[in-house]
C-alpha cells in the first residue's frame, strides 16, 4: 500500500500514519512512503489495508525525538526505515542505541546529518531588511539553501530569537513566514533572494578586519563553512582576496622595523611592593601580597594578613588561609572560621577584640578540577613566613598568644609535635609572652567520629575560655 505525506507537516503526518498502520498491524515491508500532494482519501479507509494483530507503539522519548529529526533527511527511504525501526523497537526486536544494527546505525547517522544541517541554517541564514527601519515591527527576508528539507525543524529557533520583528526565510522546499508572532509555512514560489542591504558593507568590513593574516588556515575555515554555503553569505565574496594577500601582509608586519619602546617605559619597570620604612599593620598588605620568600605566594590570590585592633591583648594564630580566606583576604572566614566563631561565643571570647592571624599568610593547595585541595605548609615555608608573624607580634604586642594547631605551635614555639598532649597548656615564648596551645578547628571538622569530635570540641572551647582569661 502507498502512503503519501504532505510537504507541510510531513513529520506530524508520518507520526499519525505510523500509529494508524501499527494499530492495524501493517508490517513495514507492505508500505510505500512518498511525499507529495495528498490523496483525497488519506485519512479514510485505505483499500487493501491488511488487518493484522495491532502493534502498540512504545518508545523511549529520546528515540521519538531522534527518529523524527532523522525524517527531515532527504533520503527517500527514511520513512520506511523509521517505520520499520519503530515496529522493531516496540516489539522488543531492537534495542534503542544499538549501533550494531545497520538500519538504526543509518538512521542515527542521518539524524546527525540533519542536526548539523539545522545548526548550519541557524548559523548561515542572512537577513536583509525589506521594510521601513523605523517601523514598530521591522521586516526582514532571507533566502537559504539547506542540504535537507529542514525548514520546519529549523524555523522555531528564529521565532524565539527574532520575536520583535517580522521575517521570511525562503528555502527551495518551504518558506517560513513569521508575522505578528505567528509562524506559518507555505510552499516556495520560485527562487527569490531579497535585494541587498547596506548593513552588509559594514559586516564585510568587520569580517575583513577580524581576520588575522598571520594565522591563515583555510582548511579549518572550509571544514566548518563549506563552499556550498558561500553563495548566500555576503561576506564570502571577500575570502579569495583575503587568502591571496595574507602571506604578503604577514610578511610586511614581520619586515617592518620594530618600534623602540618609549623612554618612559623604562620608568615603568615595576618594583615589587616592598615593605615601606616604618610600616604599620595597615600599610603592610601590598608587600605581603607580593611576598615571594617561599614559592606558595605565587599561586595564591593574595596574602592574608591578620585582623583586629592594633592594641589587641590576645593574638590568635591559626595555620594558613583556606579557599575562602584566600578569596576574601580575611583570616578564619571559611568553615573552620565559622566553627571557631561558634566556640568563641560559647567560651565568652570576643573575637573582635583579638588579633586573629595565621602562621602562614598565603594559601598552599593543589588544584583538582574546580577545587583547591589544602596542603599543609612545610617547615621551610613556615619559617619563611615567621618573618611576617614576628612583624605582627612586634606591632601588636599582645599580652598572650593562642596557637591553634601544629603549624602555629611550630611557628611560635619551634616545636609542632604532640599537640594532642600539649593542648590546654601554656608555654612561654622567647620574648616571655605566654602562649596557650590548642587544636585547630579544621582538625575537628575532619574527624569522622561525631562522639570524639564533640569531646574535643568541648576541650577546645575550654581552651578558648582559658585564653580569654589569660589576656584579660
Amino acid at each position: 500500500m502507498q502512503v503519501i505525506l504532505p510537504r507541510i507537516g510531513m513529520v506530524a503526518a508520518w507520526r499519525a500514519e505510523a500509529r494508524r498502520l501499527a494499530a492495524s498491524g501493517v508490517p513495514a515491508e507492505e508500505v510505500r512512503w512518498t511525499v507529495g500532494d495528498p490523496a483525497p482519501d488519506l485519512f479514510g479507509e485505505t483499500p487493501g489495508l491488511r488487518a493484522g494483530q495491532a502493534i502498540e507503539l512504545r518508545l523511549p522519548r529520546e528515540a521519538v525525538e531522534r527518529i523524527e529529526t532523522a525524517l527531515h533527511h532527504s533520503d527517500p527511504e527514511r520513512f520506511a526505515r523509521a517505520y520499520a525501526i519503530v515496529l522493531r523497537l516496540s516489539q522488543g526486536r531492537l534495542r534503542w542505541g544499538d549501533r550494531s544494527d545497520p538500519a538504526l546505525h543509518r538512521l542515527l547517522a542521518q539524524e546527525k546529518a540533519v542536526r548539523r544541517d539545522i545548526h548550519k541554517m541557524h548559523a548561515f541564514v542572512r537577513f536583509r531588511e525589506i521594510g521601513d527601519p523605523a517601523a514598530v515591527r521591522r521586516a526582514f527576508a532571507a533566502w537559504f539553501e539547506p542540504a535537507h528539507p529542514i525548514a520546519e525543524a529549523a524555523a522555531p529557533f528564529f521565532a524565539g530569537r527574532f520575536g520583535d520583528m517580522d521575517w521570511v526565510i525562503a528555502t527551495p522546499h518551504l518558506t517560513a513566514r513569521f508575522e505578528d508572532g505567528a509562524l506559518n509555512f507555505s510552499e516556495t514560489q520560485g527562487k527569490a533572494p531579497p535585494p541587498a542591504d547596506a548593513t552588509e558593507d559594514l559586516w564585510r568590513t568587520y569580517f575583513a578586519n577580524i581576520f588575522n593574516p598571520a594565522r591563515l588556515m583555510v582548511s579549518a575555515m572550509t571544514s566548518e563553512m563549506p563552499r556550498k554555503y558561500w553563495k548566500n553569505l555576503p561576506e564570502a565574496e571577500l575570502i579569495p582576496e583575503l587568502i591571496r594577500t595574507a602571506p604578503e601582509r604577514a610578511m610586511a608586519m614581520q619586515a617592518a622595523m620594530p618600534t623602540e619602546p618609549p623612554t618612559r617605559a623604562a620608568k615603568l619597570r615595576p618594583e615589587r611592593p616592598a615593605l615601606p620604612e616604618g610600616a604599620t599593620l595597615a600599610t603592610m598588605k601590598p608587600a605581603l601580597d607580593a611576598c615571594r620568600r617561599c614559592p606558595i605566594g605565587g599561586c595564591a590570590t593574595q596574602g592574608v594578613a591578620g585582623e583586629g585592633p592594633e592594641t589587641a591583648r590576645l593574638m590568635i594564630v591559626g595555620e594558613q588561609p583556606g579557599d575562602r580566606e584566600d578569596l576574601e583576604g580575611r583570616p578564619f572566614a571559611g568553615p573552620a572560621g565559622q566553627l571557631f566563631d561558634a566556640m568563641a561565643e560559647e567560651a565568652g571570647l570576643d573575637r573582635a577584640a583579638a588579633w586573629v592571624t595565621n602562621a602562614v599568610k598565603h594559601f598552599k593547595f593543589t588544584p583538582r578540577g574546580k577545587r583547591r585541595i589544602h596542603q599543609r605548609p612545610d617547615a621551610g615555608e613556615v619559617e619563611a613566613c615567621r618573618w611576617w608573624l614576628d612583624l605582627e607580634r612586634k606591632l601588636v604586642r599582645p599580652k598572650a598568644v593562642l596557637a591553634m594547631g601544629a603549624t602555629a605551635a611550630f611557628s611560635l614555639t619551634g616545636n609542632g609535635r604532640d599537640i594532642a598532649r600539649r593542648r590546654g597548656t601554656v608555654e612561654t615564648l622567647a620574648d616571655g609572652t605566654p602562649c596557650l596551645l590548642t587544636l585547630h578547628p579544621a582538625h575537628l571538622l575532619r574527624l569522622p567520629d561525631p562522639v570524639l569530635r564533640a569531646e574535643l570540641q568541648a576541650k577546645v572551647t575550654a581552651d578558648l575560655r582559658l585564653a580569654a582569661g589569660l589576656s584579660a
Binding site: 549501533r99 550494531s100 520575536g163 559586516w203 594565522r215 582548511s219 618600534t259 619602546p261
Partner: protein, 425 residues
C-alpha cells in the same frame, strides 16, 4: 618608516584629528580586537524573545555564524570600544607607544552595530573589550553603559561578554556582571615575572584579586536567601581568561600548571591560549616570530584532557616541560605509560577508558551503555565512533588483540606525521 628613534607621537583619546566614519572606526577597532581568542557564546541563562517584546535569545550551545580564513569562528561582534590606551604592554598592538591608527566608538555606535548585526543573524551578541583611556574606572564605566543600554533600552536578550579591567572599582565589576553573560579578565602571560617585564602597568596580584571577586559574586548569586528569593544573577555564563603563548619563555608545564590553578581557584569556564602573533608596529623588546600555532593547538588539547578526561596538569607535560608537537598529548601520555595498556574494553572502569587514545567521552559513554547488554566486540567500536587508528595498540577485546606492543620509538614513529612545512615566512 623612521628608524624608531623619535618617540612615537602619543595621542590621547580626545585628540581626534579626523572625524572617522562608522565603517572606518569598525575597521580599526575590529582589527585591534582580533588578538583575543575567545568567541564562545555558549551556556548561561536561557532567554528568548518569544514574547515579542525584545530581541534575541541565548542559552544552550552557541553558534558560529561565520569563519574567517584563519579558521576562527565568528560568533560575536568582537570589537574594542577604543584602541587608545595609556598602558604600554609590549605584546599588544594597542600599547601606548605603538603608531597604529586610533579610533573610539561612542556608546550608541556600539549599540547600533550590535543590534543591526544581530537582526541580520550575523552574530550571537557582543564581545566588548577596550584600551584604557583616562582611567580604568572611566573605561569600565563606559563599557558597562554599553551593556546596560543594550539590555534596558534595546531589550537585547542575546549574549554579552565584557572584558573586565582588573583595576576597575568593585561597583563597576558588579554592574558589569549584572548586564553581561560572561566576564573575562586576561592573565595575559603565564608567569608573574613575564607580566612584570612585558606589561609593566599590570599586576598579576590585581588580576587574581579581580578573578576572586568575580567568583565570590557568582557564588553569592547562586545561593538562595532565607526568604527564598533568588538574588540577582551574576555573569551567568561564568568567567574566562586568556594567556599569550610564545611571547615569553614559559614552558608548557608552567602554562598548564597556571591553568589548573586558575580553574580550581576561580572556577573559570575556559582558559584561552593565544599564540603570540605578528602585529603591526611591533615593539623592539618583543621581536616578531611565526605564531606558534601547533603549540597553541597542543595546549588546547592538553587543557581538554584536564577538563574532560580526568588528567592532572603534572601528568600531561613531560619532565622537559614541553608538549610533543608531532603527536597529541593524550597519545603521548599513553606512549609514556605503556605499562597501563592494553586496556580491556569490556572490563576497564570509565576513568581508564577515557585515557585510551582515540576514545572520547561520548564514545566511552556508548561503550559503557553497550557493555550493559552484551560483550562489546571490535566491530562495535567502529560504529560507536572511536578513532581506532589511535586506539588499536592500546586496547584488547573480542575480535582484536594488540599482541606485543612495539617499542615506544616505533610506536611514536607510526603516529607522528612527517614534519609539516608551514607556508608562512
Amino acid at each position: 618608516m623612521s628608524g624608531g628613534l623619535e618617540p612615537a607621537p602619543r595621542r590621547t583619546y580626545d585628540e581626534h584629528m579626523v572625524k572617522r566614519t562608522l565603517s572606518e572606526k569598525l575597521a580599526i577597532l575590529a582589527d585591534a580586537a582580533k588578538y583575543d581568542a575567545s568567541c564562545a557564546s555558549s551556556g548561561g541563562e536561557k532567554r528568548s524573545s518569544k514574547d515579542g517584546k525584545g530581541l534575541g535569545s541565548s542559552g544552550g550551545s552557541g553558534i558560529c555564524h561565520a569563519y574567517a580564513p584563519d579558521g576562527r569562528c565568528i560568533s560575536l561582534l568582537k570589537v574594542l570600544m577604543t584602541n587608545f590606551c595609556i598602558y604600554d604592554c609590549a605584546y599588544c598592538v594597542n600599547r601606548a607607544s605603538s603608531r597604529v591608527e586610533r579610533a573610539r566608538f561612542s556608546v550608541d555606535e556600539v549599540v547600533k552595530l550590535t543590534i543591526e548585526f544581530y537582526r541580520r543573524n550575523y552574530i550571537e551578541g557582543l564581545f566588548l573589550s577596550s584600551g584604557i583611556i583616562r582611567s580604568p574606572d572611566d573605561t569600565m564605566a563606559d563599557m558597562v553603559r554599553i551593556a546596560r543600554t543594550l539590555r534596558e533600552r534595546e531589550n537585547f536578550r542575546g549574549y554579552i561578554h565584557l572584558k573586565t579591567i582588573p583595576d576597575a572599582a568593585p561597583e563597576l565589576i558588579e554592574q558589569a556582571g549584572i548586564w553581561a553573560d560572561r566576564l573575562s579578565i586576561n592573565v595575559e602571560l603565564p608567569t608573574e615575572t613575564a607580566l612584570e617585564s612585558l606589561a609593566p602597568e599590570k599586576s598579576s596580584r590585581t588580576i587574581r584579586r579581580a578573578m576572586a571577586d568575580v567568583r565570590m559574586r557568582r557564588d553569592a548569586a547562586r545561593e538562595t536567601s532565607h526568604r527564598g528569593k533568588r538574588p540577582s544573577r551574576f555573569a551567568p555564563a561564568g568567567q574566562s581568561t586568556q594567556m599569550i603563548v610564545g611571547a615569553d619563555t614559559a614552558t608548557d608545564s608552567q602554562i598548564l600548571g597556571q591553568s589548573a590553578t586558575l580553574y580550581s581557584a576561580y572556577r573559570l569556564g575556559r582558559v584561552y591560549y593565544s599564540a603570540f602573533s605578528p602585529i603591526p608596529d611591533a615593539s623592539k623588546s618583543l621581536p616578531l616570530i611565526r605564531p606558534p600555532l601547533m603549540r597553541e593547538h597542543r595546549l588546547y588539547q592538553a587543557d581538554w584532557m584536564m577538563r574532560f578526561y580526568g588528567f592532572e596538569a603534572a601528568e600531561i607535560a613531560p619532565p622537559a616541560g614541553m608538549l610533543d608537537l608531532e603527536i597529541d598529548p593524550k597519545l603521548a601520555w599513553a606512549l609514556a605509560n605503556r605499562g597501563q595498556f592494553p586496556v580491556a574494553v569490556n572490563r576497564a572502569p570509565r576513568e581508564m577508558l577515557l585515557r585510551v587514545p582515540g576514545f572520547g567521552p561520548r564514545s566511552v559513554d556508548r561503550i559503557l551503555a553497550a557493555r550493559r547488554h552484551r560483550e562489546v566486540r571490535y566491530e562495535d567500536l567502529v560504529r560507536i565512533g572511536c578513532n581506532l587508528k589511535n586506539a588499536r595498540p592500546f586496547i584488547s577485546l573480542p575480535g582484536w588483540s594488540p599482541g606485543a606492543l612495539p617499542d615506544a620509538a616505533q610506536l611514536r614513529a607510526r603516529f607522528a606525521s612527517p614534519p609539516e612545512q608551514l607556508s608562512l615566512f
